[in-house]
């Protein structure tokens, strides 16, 4: 039995994807595993949300895709963060930190 996955906050998936892609270019499947691993199995992003998010980000020019060979010699689509994506991530991260800081403060008060 897998640990119970927390519901994903609206709009945070884009942030997660961008953050993970900043570390290194990754393909879709590895990305889903990495989200699961990095969040210590709290977040479980299924393909149904991940791929539309990737395409959305690609069409907004925040990430770009290229084809590369996997270790096993298979063609895999690898996503890379663009310069615009980096800028967007920084902006979003800042506002997220401000938001979560404020939220934690409120939660501590009551």
């Amino acid at each position: 039995m897998a640990p119970k996955a927390a519901p994903l906050l609206q709009g945070t998936l884009d942030l997660i994807v961008l953050q993970l892609l900043r570390a290194e270019p990754t393909n879709g499947y590895d990305l889903s595993l990495r989200i699961q691993a990095t969040s210590r199995d709290v977040l479980n992003v299924n393909a149904g949300s991940l791929y539309p998010a990737l395409y959305r980000l690609e069409s907004r020019g925040l990430i770009k895709a290229s084809w590369a060979e996997t270790e096993k010699g298979r063609r895999a689509k690898v996503y890379t963060l663009t310069a615009a994506g980096t800028r967007h991530l920084n902006d979003q991260r800042e506002s997220w930190e401000r938001f979560s800081g404020a939220l934690s403060a409120i939660l501590r008060v009551t």
Binding site: N27, G28, N46, G48, Y51, Y55, S59, R60, G61, A76
Partner: protein, 913 residues
């Protein structure tokens, strides 16, 4: 979004559309890899391959749905859908081409005619004259003259002192310009014939006030020119004239002759410019005002006398002045300059007013313009209404027929929006096609109007193109939307079960419009048939112009030229005298011109034994020169022909045709008997209706004494009821007939040479020097073209109305599909089914015809009064014939869909219950 970001987003989007196949494949590959990797991982955890694959799939979700979402996210999706919508629409049209073509044609007609009327109204009311900048400060100052008894406002020209006075009102008018419009002869001096044309003698500030510069040449001098005798005269020519004579820039500086006076060309006016106002007579020459005296040989005194009124005036308002202030000022000025010369007739109230220099600005055109606008507005509205009704009838019919198809698509999961989009795309496509075709039609109509009435003053313009496109798209969306909403509103199961539907209020409205169309079509057809019939019968029974090749006709213009009209007529008579002495010419007579129509009866004391002795007969009275019958080679059966002394006798001597003589007096001798002739016209020549004949200014009966009877058998003058008289100056003094020895065309060059050298300032009008045979051919061609146009318009109306009727009947057949099935299943015969629907159509058209009858009668009366002189057709018969034609066509239009009803297979129709 930065530029880079935009670029890369754009690239992704374009890639998504252009390389859809590749993108799809990549998406598939990517997801397949994901599944594969997930499967491998699960297998590493100990599941076998089949279990692992299943688990991976479950976890991943529906690949197809994901791919669909992926496409949505990528954007450009709407273009894909549009492409597929358009493809689907095309396939649909190719299955029902007749409906599609009909729809496109109806829309094209509606849009084309409507836009043409729209731009015509615009030209007549809102546009400045061609080539004149749209400037609110430009106004026309119009002199007016009101006669109390008639209450009719007429235009008057202003005198130079009045114009000068206006020009001093600086606080109201920044500039006041004037021109006088005259007819002059232009001789280019290159061996071609001199041509008659309108010339404007303009004030020095004419072009500057309008804000126009001559694009070629220095133009007219801006200050007061030196009007001392011997000073060189100059002229600016219209752009169209410049093009006509070669369009060479070297023309500047060339000397031409205007009314035989040498004038130097100093400029070419801007393209399309035809004078300051729309209705200023299409001038081709612009000459400085002082040149008027030399060219018209008038006295320079005319430019200073308040009694010489010949100027049209326009002005530029001072920066803060209003139209109202202008009006007040010109009224004051007008009262100060009432001409001292007393005009014959009752005194008139002299005043002036100011109107914007746009559209038709003549005083006389005020009410005319209103009438035109009202007429065209109504016409445009009606046409749009007709087009809309027919289009909506056809579209609703088509949508009802597709209800089942729509229901199937809905049940297969298409969203309602998607289906509506499909339908709207279809109608928009039709609307676009109709709009494009309508635009072509519009272009032709404006050309036609320009050619017929406005001489190039109207042309297709961008604004109207936009308007048309807007109307076309709007029509498509609105008409596409309403049946689409209607068709998709039903829930799927009931639509699949029951393809029928009750008669809605919409179809009642449609019926109303159909009846209205037929009501309007019928009088239109009647009127057109009458006019065409009259014109054709006129041609067939030509009165005065036997088809001869050895009679040459020439008509002179006496408006321009040098000297008074009497002097000019005398000079023309002299030339004609000289022509008659040419060896190749037999005789020359003035042509009888214009005729009167009269009710004629025998004087009570002179009644004979003819079959119509007691009756009143309608006849033509022709003013004729003495010697006319000999000239035309028409034999006299009794008595003598008209002689010189008949022109001024105490009694009016008349020569009548032998048929008329027989019907009044039988075999008796008509010579010396009297006829009473009551004209149908008043003193101004207007034809009076029977009611109006008692009016004060109606001409009372005149008595004529028969002096001769000419033989109608074998004579070129056909038709009974022809009365000829030489009394009074009823024949023309500017139009002559020349009888030549042998073919007239051989003599024409000699006559032309003689005329041109003797009277170079008097123009030859109309179709110039030509034999009667040539003239007849020209006239016949013109008349045929005109009749063809009129007939086309009438047929168009009929076709439109039938299309509407067809749509309505077809719709009701479709709506009652199931009912028909039940009827047929219960034993109704095909003929009974056909009759059911056929009668609906026929009832509607019969109602239209009956309601249209009063209108037809009005139309007939209108034509009867304006063509009182020729009543060759049996009018009630024409009316009945047209009604029969209308009903026949309407019957055909309803029979075609009704027949379809009979072919309904009851099994198919009821099966879905």
């Amino acid at each position: 979004m930065s530029l880079m970001q935009m670029m890369s987003a754009l690239r992704a989007r374009v890639r998504a559309i252009v390389r859809r196949g590749t993108v799809d494949r990549e998406m598939r590959d990517e997801m397949a890899l994901h599944l594969e990797q997930a499967t491998e991982r699960l297998m590493r955890r100990g599941l076998n391959e089949a279990e692992a694959r299943d688990a991976a799939r479950r976890e991943f979700g529906n690949v197809a749905v994901l791919q669909e979402e992926g496409r949505d996210v990528r954007g450009g999706r709407w273009i894909e859908m549009l492409v597929s919508d358009v493809r689907f629409a095309m396939r649909h049209f190719s299955r029902t081409p007749l409906t599609a073509i009909t729809l496109i044609l109806v829309l094209a007609l509606g849009i084309g005619v409507n836009s043409a009327l729209f731009s015509l109204v615009q030209v007549l009311t809102m546009r400045p004259a061609p080539g004149v900048p749209a400037d609110d400060a430009l106004v026309r100052i119009r002199g007016t003259s009101l006669t109390r008894s008639e209450g009719k406002l007429e235009g008057r020209h202003l005198s130079m002192p009045e114009v000068n006075d206006l020009a001093t009102r600086r606080e109201t008018f920044a500039a006041v310009a004037s021109y006088s419009s005259e007819e002059v002869m232009l001789d280019l001096g290159d061996g071609s014939d001199p041509k008659a044309m309108t010339g404007h003698f303009v004030s020095p500030n004419f072009f500057a006030t309008l804000g126009i510069r001559t694009p070629l040449g220095p133009g007219l001098p801006a200050g007061q020119t030196d009007d001392a005798p011997g000073a060189e005269l100059v002229v600016v020519i219209a752009h169209s004239l410049w093009e006509q004579i070669g369009g060479d820039t070297a023309i500047i500086g060339r000397v031409v002759r205007v009314n035989d006076v040498p004038v130097r060309i100093v400029g070419v006016a801007p393209p399309a410019f035809q004078g300051a106002a729309f209705d200023s007579g299409m001038p081709l020459l612009f000459l400085p005002m002082p040149a008027r005296a030399a060219i018209l040989q008038s006295t320079p005194h005319a430019l200073v006398s308040p009694d010489s009124t010949f100027l049209d005036v326009f002005a530029r308002l001072a920066p803060n002045a209003t139209l109202e202030q202008g009006n007040a000022v010109v009224k004051v000025v007008a009262t100060a300059w009432v001409p001292g010369k007393v005009e014959p007739g009752e005194p008139a109230v002299i005043s002036s007013d100011v109107v914007p220099l746009r559209g038709l600005t003549d005083v006389g055109s005020d009410s005319e313009r209103l009438a035109i606008i009202a007429l065209m507005g109504t016409g445009a509205l009606l046409i749009l209404l007709v087009a809309c009704t027919n289009v909506s009838a056809l579209l609703v019919g088509a949508a009802v027929a597709r209800r089942r198809e729509i229901a199937i698509r809905l049940s297969l999961g298409a969203s309602r929006l998607r289906v509506i989009r499909q339908l709207v795309t279809e109608t928009s496509l039709i609307a676009l096609a109709g709009g494009a075709l309508g635009l072509t039609l519009y272009w032709w109509i404006t050309r036609l109007i320009a050619w017929l009435y406005l001489d190039g003053g109207i042309g297709p313009d961008l604004g109207t193109v936009g308007f048309t496109a807007f109307v076309a798209l709007g029509t498509g969306i609105i008409f596409g939307l309403s049946p689409a909403l209607h068709a998709t509103r039903l829930d799927v199961s009931s639509a699949l079960k029951d393809a029928g539907g009750g008669t809605t209020s919409r179809s009642r409205l449609q019926r109303f419009f159909i009846v209205a169309q037929i009501v309007l079509t019928q009088p239109l057809l009647v009127a057109i048939a009458m006019v065409v019939g009259i014109v054709l019968s006129e041609l067939g029974g030509r009165v005065d112009n036997p088809l001869t090749t050895n009679i040459v006709r020439v008509e002179f213009g006496t408006y321009g030229g040098v000297g008074s009209r009497e002097q000019k007529l005398a000079r023309i008579a002299d030339v004609m005298q000289a022509v008659s002495r040419l060896p190749s010419v037999e005789t020359v007579v003035p042509q009888s011109r214009g005729f009167d129509v009269a009710d004629v009866r025998v004087h009570t004391a002179d009644r004979g034994a003819g079959p119509r002795a007691q009756e009143t007969v309608r006849a033509h009275i022709e003013g004729t020169a003495p010697g006319y019958f000999a000239f035309q080679d028409i034999p006299m059966r009794r008595g003598r022909e008209l002689i010189a002394s008949d022109t001024a006798g105490r009694e009016m001597a008349i020569v009548i045709d032998s048929d008329l003589a027989r019907s009044f007096w039988g075999a008796g001798d008509p010579i010396g008997r009297r006829l009473e002739m009551t004209s149908l016209r008043d003193r101004k020549g207007t034809i009076l209706t029977p009611v109006e004949r008692g009016r004060v200014d109606a001409v009372g009966p005149r008595t004529g004494v028969v002096v001769g009877v000419f033989d109608t058998t074998g004579a070129p003058l056909r038709g009974a009821g022809r009365i000829y008289t030489a009394a009074g100056a009823q024949w023309s003094k500017d139009t002559y007939l020349i009888r030549t020895r042998g073919n007239g065309t051989a003599v024409i060059p000699t006559i032309r040479q003689l005329v041109r050298t003797t009277i170079p300032d008097i123009p030859i009008y109309g179709n110039g020097l030509a034999t009667l045979e040539q003239l007849d051919r020209i006239e016949r061609r013109d008349v045929l073209q005109l009749s063809a146009g009129a007939t086309g318009a009438g047929l168009l109306a009929l076709v439109l109305a039938s299309i509407g009727l067809y749509g309505v009947v077809a719709l009701s057949v479709r709506q009652r599909h199931r009912e028909i099935g039940v009827r047929v299943a219960l034993g109704a015969r095909p003929r009974q089914v056909i009759r059911l629907f056929f009668m609906t159509g026929v009832r509607l058209s019969a109602l239209g015809v009956i309601l249209g009858l009063p209108l037809s009668v009005v139309a007939l009366n209108l034509i009867a009064t304006s063509f009182a002189d020729v009543v060759p057709l049996n009018m009630p018969l024409v009316g009945v014939a047209i009604a029969v034609v209308v009903i026949a066509v309407a019957a055909l239009a309803s029979w075609i869909p009704a027949r379809r009803a009979a072919r309904v297979d009851p099994l198919v129709a009821i099966r879905f219950d």
